[in-house]
Amino acid sequence: MKLWLLLRGELSKLFGQKGTYVGYGVLAVLVGFVVWFMWRHGPPFARSMTRSDDFIVAGKLVSWVSVARYIMEPALLVLVPLLVATVSGGLFAGEMVRGTMRTLLCRPVRRVSVATAKYLAGWIHAISLTAFLGLFGLCLGLAVLGRGELVTMRGGLTVLSEQVALLRLTEAYLMAALAMCAMASLATLFSQLVENPLTAMALAVGFLLVSATVGALPYFDWLKPYLLSTQMDDYTGLFHAQVAFGDLSWPLGCMAVYAVVPFVVGIIIFRYRDITC
């Protein structure tokens, strides 16, 4: 009961701040730009994907599903993680700076519940941002470009019917949401360790960038399967003609570990921490 009250409070705090909506606004602008680009340069864009005029592909290749698919890489590798980290980085540190944490903890609430509610709120925000990206992309794409198929070039030219494309997009966005939850967990954990929300955000984004840099170095090939940055774009495998779902279990498990471990560590830290703010 208290956990529900705390979660409701966290969500109302989160979505009661105008700053939270900046992220959605930024994503809306990005989607708008991509849709405008596809509308303006539609046929050349399709040709650039097929790389030749020799193919004859039936159907509409630039459509609403194309928007939702091709917005993923530019948004989900850096932008959405950054927006997630900005909000999650303030979950603890923001309350510490304002002093509201002590006001909150003077109430008869369990610290485990307080921390759990904050992590859950961070995850909900991360999922909502990811979902907004996909849904807004689909809606705006539908309004401007209309319905059609999805063409991808991964592992050869693949044309997915609209129905299959929507299913694959749903799965891909669910995977991406898990990755964003991992990012939210990391930022929330850092938010517990520092007193400035911006520092927490910088640490979380820094962690991701260092992870991506290390993953790009040949010497660290052995480490690559365990890095969050490596797993974050594994959803691309879902857009192959044949999906090897078994291959997705490792990245899914890896991202789940990145989401859960900071949460557990955070709970333990918060449970035993003195509140000095």
């Binding site: 705090k13 002590r102 006001t103 909150l104 003077c106 109430r107 609430v109 369990r110 449970r271």
Partner: protein, 316 residues
């Protein structure tokens, strides 16, 4: 069990250490039910650390902290409606109204009725501005809201850290009256303050902490009790001093103002003192028992405590 306890607050050998520094050391403190207990001490003496230990915000390095007989742990402070607290100034969500802040926080202490929220807001004179965002409140209004949030749901023990901070004289008087009213209704109040005059007026008991150790604790009236001195206001201070020095009744005298002198007597006979002066032709304009003021007692004790012990008292 808690209902039968008469001891509201009990710290037994409570200590808190930060690295090599003791913020609070072996603190034994007891506050009985129904008291208004003033917790005094200079900056960095360990008041806030003690209050944080009391509320479970900090865990003592050693010793025990109990409220109504129950050990205070890290995981929240006891049950619903047991303790209301204001710690180190008001802290709220600026983008919410005062009412929403109050409702959200009070909701965590159990089911709270809207009329209880209204009661608290009216008590601190914020009803009427309750729908405004806290971001638009002055410091004094935030302080009032902080007191209101400590009052809902009505707790059995109210812990207030510097409740008068930022309040204007009218606000001070209102808070003073409110605390006395709540104590009359049976609420126990534990408050720290630097406003010694306020503490003197409303507290039944006080404790003084210096360098992390409690140097005195007791009833205000006992601490301020007269030591047998009388203060006399006379028309001729020089003549009065000459007369008084010759009187056998007078043990000691000290000039305390332009026309006042403090006189310590061998026997408690102020009428004889008055008669002696009048017979010598000195006009006596006033004669009253000289009571110490809390500030005087506090400064004496705090100074002595700091001199005796300088092993701790610095918070983080």
């Amino acid at each position: 069990m808690g209902e039968l306890m008469s001891e509201a607050v009990a710290l037994a050998g409570a200590s808190k250490r930060y690295g090599a520094t003791w913020a609070v050391r072996d603190l034994d403190l007891s506050v009985e039910s129904g008291w208004i207990y003033g917790f005094l001490g200079p900056n960095g003496a360990g008041k806030s650390t003690t209050i944080r230990m009391l509320l479970g915000l900090m865990q003592p390095t050693s010793g025990a902290v109990r409220i109504w007989g129950e050990q205070v742990g890290r995981d929240g402070i006891l049950g619903d409606g047991v303790v209301g607290a204001l710690v180190e100034g008001p802290a709220f969500y600026e983008y919410f109204s005062g009412y929403r802040n109050l409702a959200m926080l009070a909701g965590l202490s159990g089911r709270v009725r809207p009329d209880e929220l209204e009661w608290a807001l009216r008590k601190v004179k914020l009803w009427g501005r309750h729908s405004d965002k806290v971001g638009t409140y002055s410091h004094g209004m935030r302080q009032r809201l902080a007191i209101a949030q400590a009052l809902v749901p009505k707790p059995r023990l109210l812990v207030l850290d510097e409740p008068a901070q930022g309040l204007d004289p009218q606000g001070l008087a209102e808070v003073r009256d409110l605390l006395v009213e709540l104590a009359d209704e049976g609420m126990t109040v534990f408050l720290s303050s630097h406003l010694l005059h306020e503490v003197e007026q409303i507290c039944s008991h006080v404790g003084v902490i210096v360098d992390g150790s409690l140097i005195t604790s007791g009833r205000v009236c006992d601490l301020l009790a007269s030591d047998g001195a009388y203060e006399v206001r006379v028309s001729d201070i020089g003549g009065a001093e000459t007369v008084l020095r010759e009187m056998r009744l007078v043990r000691e005298l000290r000039r305390t103002g332009e026309d006042t002198v403090a006189v310590w007597l061998h026997e408690d006979k102020p009428e004889a003192l008055n008669a002696g002066l009048v017979q010598a032709g000195i006009g006596v304009q006033g004669l009253r028992e000289k009571r110490a003021e809390l500030e005087e007692v506090y400064l004496q004790m705090a100074g002595a405590g700091a001199g005796e012990d300088s092993q701790g008292g610095e918070g983080p």
